[in-house]
């Protein structure tokens, strides 16, 4: 199992082999955890710009809950992807987990249990997870399922170490921008009623992140915050350090949609590996390999041309694959042993055949003797006694006995194994015999009795059929000779000029294959349309092939000939001959195709024998975009998943949501909209805003995001205005850190509201409640 190398450089062909076992992602997570610890201890040292940190879950139960006085706020970042909770004033949240809940049934006891967050699938095998998928409390970015929210909060407080009779700390919890009041009030109710929290404050995560970075000096007092999140993307202008929600803007595209798009694309491109593309795996792939192209269409043109650059940019994921065990060539002893066994078996068979043959010969000889004896006896018997004499033996006349004798001698000869020349002789002998058998033919009709006439007709019929059979045999023989001769000629031609011969064969093959393909195409285009059918004509309006057209023509002309007003088709017998014409047409078509196919098969086998570079043209089996020809065993390449265009096609939807049929503006356009929405603030303020464009949120970690944003925003701003895009110092955790820093301020408690406030002031006040971010 290979560890992932730590740097990707363009220009190096890097093939990654990721094993699918969970242990790899766990080791990656361990690496990431180590990085976080390192950063904690040395907060100012920049860590080497690595690709991306995979998100990690921290769910160990904290043991220092009791150390915190009840004035210390608990800070919660309630995100659609991850839930982070910790104490105010700290640098890292204590507990992080995925914001999902599963309620499977325990297989042994049958009770339904609750599992929060993502867990090792190995442990989940004790549970029956078929009827319970992971469920989230969110619908887009708003919490609506408060039962699930309660499970999540239970788990979070439990892991934070809570053990009193209530949560006796003020809680700062994040929400989405302009959270609907119902969601807000239900959340407040949950916290007050069920957990006994004394006071609660709601804030927007993007704002906290902005304030935190403002203190770090990353962005200025006035600026724009761009926050591509998990399900939505926001743009919020900040003036004087406070967010102006009037000018904010939201598009419903986020990391979730990118992962989903990638998953569907891969599943369609590699349907045979569809089971491998689980959500978690695809998310890992996305974080590893996806990037944002500076200009989508020029990147794509690189791939279309098939340059070496494009090849470098293609990543390859090798699925675990075991080659089938190669059979070693059997050793000498094996071969000898097998040959000996075969020899023995052959010997046994030969003996058996010998025994059978000799017994049969004996039988026949006995029969022959008997018949000859009978004949001899017959000599002595008089003419009129013959029938009565012979009735005992079962033969009716002397001729029968003689013919029986002949037959027996013949089979005896065959059994004794004499060459076939004699058999031909014997056959020829039957010819005069047959002539004798049809004595009545040559006698003219008027001389015979009625029974003899009947007899004559029968003999005539028999004669013609036997003659016909002989003629057919002759023809077959001749065609055999002909083919032999042709093959001989072919061989000679090949020996004298192999190259030319090969060329000719190949050309013939190509012609034939084209003809066959075209005919097939006509056929399938007529009968098999995959998609929309337009109405009209036969049945469902499918285009008719030649046979069907002919049929229609015949029918319509037949009907037409009768004259208008009256349809007397079928009154006469000859009318029905029409159908004989029609069915013949159908047969012809198929026959022609079969002949061509047979010819093609023959040619291809010839070519395969003599031409090492020939590859038979396989039928285009139309079930999959990528063919897996079953004629050859699966190779390593079949188990490779190539990520080429998908690498930058998927994150591109952040800028072009139209590709997912989300009819809203993309990231760069949103900045323009946001600035426009602010009531006319003046050129100067706008410049200050664009001078400090701050991006945060998990989905902003794609490489190439900043450059692309600069290019995009420059297109919509007046020429020459300053544009500066800065990324948050830690886009994933900065929201929590900002909230934690905010909660430590002494005036924080003035921004919260307590239970009594909530019940007295009512919903309207709650709707207008907004946090003031500069304290």
């Amino acid at each position: 199992m290979l560890l992932v190398p730590s740097c990707w450089t363009l220009g190096e062909r890097v093939t990654v082999s990721l094993s699918l076992s969970l242990s790899l992602s766990q080791s990656l997570r361990a690496l990431a955890r180590a990085r976080i610890l390192y950063k904690e201890r040395n907060p100012n040292s920049p860590i080497q710009k690595k690709k991306k940190m995979p998100f990690i879950s921290k769910i160990e139960r904290q043991s220092d809950y009791h150390l915190f006085p009840s004035t210390t706020p608990i800070v919660i970042d309630n995100g659609a992807s991850y839930f982070r909770i910790g104490w105010a004033g700290e640098a890292e949240p204590r507990v992080i987990f995925r914001n999902i809940v599963q309620r499977p049934r325990h297989k042994a006891t049958g009770e339904t249990v609750t599992i929060v967050g993502d867990h090792d699938p190995a442990l989940l095998r004790y549970f029956d997870c078929t009827r319970s998928g992971p469920r989230s409390a969110f619908d887009s970015n708003v919490v609506y399922q408060f039962e699930i929210m309660e499970y999540i909060l239970d788990f979070a407080f439990d892991r934070l170490g809570a053990n009193g009779s209530r949560i006796d700390h003020p809680v700062l919890i994040t929400e989405c921008v302009c959270n609907p009041v119902q969601s807000r009030s239900k959340m407040a109710e949950l916290l007050f009623e069920t957990y006994g929290v004394p006071s609660v404050a709601f804030g927007v995560d993007a704002a906290f992140s902005y304030k935190y970075n403002q203190q770090l000096g990353v962005c200025a007092k006035d600026g724009l915050a761009l926050c591509p999140g998990f399900t939505t993307t926001h743009v919020i202008p900040f003036i004087d350090g406070e967010p102006v929600y009037k000018g904010s803007c939201r598009t419903n595209i986020g990391g979730y949609h990118i992962t989903d798009y990638l998953k569907q694309l891969l599943s369609l491109k590699y349907p045979q590996h569809m089971a491998r593309f689980t959500w978690e795996k695809v998310e890992d792939l996305k974080m590893e390999h996806c990037y944002i192209a500076q200009d989508y269409f020029s990147e794509v043109r690189l791939f279309q041309k098939g340059d070496k650059e494009a090849e470098d940019k293609t990543r390859c994921w090798q699925l675990p694959w075991i080659p089938p065990p190669t059979e070693e060539p059997p050793s000498e002893e094996e071969i000898a042993r097998k040959a000996a066994i075969k020899e023995r078996q052959g010997q046994r068979l030969r003996e058996m055949a010998e025994a059978k043959r000799s017994s049969r010969i004996n039988e026949l000889e006995n029969e022959l003797h008997g018949l000859e004896f009978l004949l001899q006896q017959l000599e002595h018997v008089e003419e009129h006694n013959i029938p009565s004499f012979l009735s005992e033996t079962g033969y009716v006349s002397k001729q029968e006995i003689e013919s029986a004798v002949q037959k027996v001698t013949q089979s005896l000869r065959k059994a004794k194994g004499e060459p076939k020349g004699d058999q031909a002789e014997a056959e020829e002998k039957t010819d005069p015999a047959t002539n004798e058998r049809f004595p009545l033919i040559n006698i003219p009709d008027n001389m015979l009795t009625p029974e003899q006439l009947k007899e004559k007709r029968r003999q005539l019929f028999l004669k013609t059929t036997s003659e016909g059979r002989q003629r057919a045999k002759q023809k077959r023989f001749e065609s055999e000779l002909e083919r032999e001769r042709k093959n001989q000629q072919d061989e000679e031609k090949r020996l004298e000029n192999p190259e030319l011969y090969l060329e000719q064969l190949r050309a013939k093959y190509k012609d034939l294959s084209e003809k066959v393909e075209q005919r097939k195409r006509l056929k399938t285009n007529g009968n098999h349309t995959n998609g929309n059918n337009f109405s009209g004509g036969v049945g469902r309006g499918e285009r008719l092939n030649a046979a069907q057209r002919e049929r229609m023509r015949l029918l319509t002309t037949a009907a037409f000939d009768r004259g208008k007003g009256e349809d007397t088709f079928g009154a006469r017998d000859e009318d029905w001959q029409l159908y004989k014409l029609m069915s013949k047409d159908n047969d012809d078509d198929d026959e022609g195709l079969d002949q061509d196919e047979a010819e093609m098969a023959r040619l291809s086998s010839r070519l395969q024998e003599i031409d090492p570079t020939f590859v038979p043209k396989l039928e285009i089996v139309t079930s999959q975009p990528i063919e897996v020809p079953r004629l050859r065993p699966l190779t390593k390449e079949d188990f490779q998943i190539l990520l080429g265009v998908e690498r930058f096609r998927c994150p591109e939807i952040l800028f072009r949501p139209n590709w997912i049929a989300v009819d809203q503006a993309g990231l760069d356009e949103m900045t323009g909209i946001s600035i426009r929405r602010l009531s006319p603030v003046g050129q100067e303020v706008e410049e200050r805003l664009t001078n400090s464009i701050f991006i945060t949120g998990g989905s902003c970690l794609f490489p190439g995001m900043s450059k692309r944003l600069v290019a995009g925003i420059r297109m919509i701003r007046p020429c020459g205005s300053p544009i500066r895009v800065v990324k948050a110092s830690d886009p994933v955790l900065d929201a929590w850190r900002g909230a934690a820093a905010y909660a430590t301020a002494p005036q924080f408690l003035t921004q919260t509201f307590s239970r009594t406030d909530y019940y007295e002031k009512g919903e309207d006040w709650l709707r207008r409640y907004q946090l003031r971010y500069t304290l």
Partner: protein, 124 residues
């Protein structure tokens, strides 16, 4: 419970000391649990927007308008630029090879590709 499951503390305990009302009291077994949660659409409808001043930002107000930029089309299958589309299947394609592929796809794949951009035929 199996030992390793207990050790990993996978399962949420049913009784938590810091809660005033436990889950099993709030949602007794047998009742339809959770089916009465309003979805986002219903929540937004319930917000009486007429009563509030229209220029106050709320969840619906701050949504982005449709994009002004002309939409550049890409091939559904390969991702290249696609100036053409197939009238029979409604898929976009980039060149003749891709077109061959498009015409040879079975119906399920066609509908899946169309579903990526929400153009699939949905029978209700």
């Amino acid at each position: 419970m199996e030992l390793e499951v207990v050790k990993a503390e996978l399962v949420l305990p049913t009784h938590l000391s810091f809660k005033q009302i436990q889950m099993y009291e709030k949602y007794p077994k047998g009742q339809s649990r959770g089916r009465h949660w309003k979805h986002l659409k219903q929540i937004l409808q319930a917000e009486n927007h007429q009563n509030h001043p229209p220029d106050e930002p709320n969840y619906v107000n701050i949504e982005s308008p449709p994009s002004m930029h002309p939409c550049k089309r890409i091939c559904d299958i390969t991702g290249y630029e696609a100036p053409y589309y197939d009238p029979r299947t409604n898929l976009r394609y980039a060149n003749a090879d891709v077109f061959k592929l498009v015409r040879s796809l079975p119906k399920e794949y066609v509908q899946s590709y169309l579903a990526l951009r929400n153009a699939a035929v949905v029978l209700k």
